[in-house]
């Protein structure tokens, strides 16, 4: 079963705009990760944020985590057509042996040139 939900399910923006995706989860975690999946390709890891962190940056990506609300957001700034993909949040927990990930249902992002 999925860990939680992502919002919105689909997002369409123009190149240069910012894109914000949200993720909610249900159980306690010790890390949350964001992955990107292009059509026909595997998942690519973008960023990991630990449960004791509130914000993390990587290039044009900014991730926030609010453990009290069990939610996270991914912000992509100055979007490009190449950012078109599905984005998934995934949670890891010390209860998940070996570090298995529980994924959300994903946000489908379309960036129009």
């Amino acid at each position: 079963s999925q860990q939680g939900e992502e919002d919105p399910q689909a997002l369409s923006i123009q190149e240069g705009e910012n894109a914000t995706m949200n993720c909610s989860y249900k159980t306690s975690i010790n890390n949350l990760q964001w992955y990107r999946q292009n059509s026909g390709r595997g998942l690519v890891h973008l960023i990991l944020i630990r449960s004791n962190e509130r914000e993390k940056h990587s290039g044009r990506l900014r991730v926030t985590l609010d453990t009290s609300k069990k939610s996270s957001s991914l912000l992509i700034t100055a979007s490009r057509a190449a950012d078109t993909a599905s984005y998934f949040c995934a949670t890891g927990s010390s209860y998940n042996q070996g570090g298995k990930l529980i994924f959300g249902q994903g946000t489908e992002l379309s960036v129009k040139p």
Binding site: Q2, N30, G40, H45, G98, G99
Partner: protein
């Protein structure tokens, strides 16, 4: 290659047929995971190996699903007597460390299984 590879990339099976899906993880990665991804959904965990030991198979949907990693590297996911509901993309992932939930997982391109 440096990444996780999977074969075949596409598999069409008739209902009732057995299939075997292969995963070659990144060399030296201790942990290996199998996930199932239905169309329009996020991946769902199937099973986990630490080296050759299968430590978690709680996500396998039925006893028709079987996975092995006999020498702690290549893994095979076998589905017996395939059903239409088995149609999905099967993703393999590996990570460097064992039993550590801060690990980034590296995913293969997946095998798209279609059961007719």
């Amino acid at each position: 290659g440096a990444g996780v590879s999977q074969s075949p990339r596409y598999k069409v099976a008739k209902r009732g047929q057995d299939v075997a899906l292969r995963c070659d993880p990144i060399s030296g990665h201790v942990s290996l995971f199998w996930y199932q991804q239905a169309l329009g959904q996020g991946p769902e965990f199937l099973t986990y190996f630490q080296n050759e030991a299968q430590l978690d198979k709680s996500g396998l949907p039925s006893d028709r699903f079987f996975a092995e990693r006999p020498e702690g590297s290549v893994s095979t996911l076998k589905i017996q007597r395939t059903q239409q509901e088995d149609s999905a993309v099967y993703l393999c992932a590996s990570s460097k460390q064992r039993d550590h939930s801060y690990n980034e997982q590296f995913f293969g391109p997946g095998t798209r299984l279609t059961v007719l």
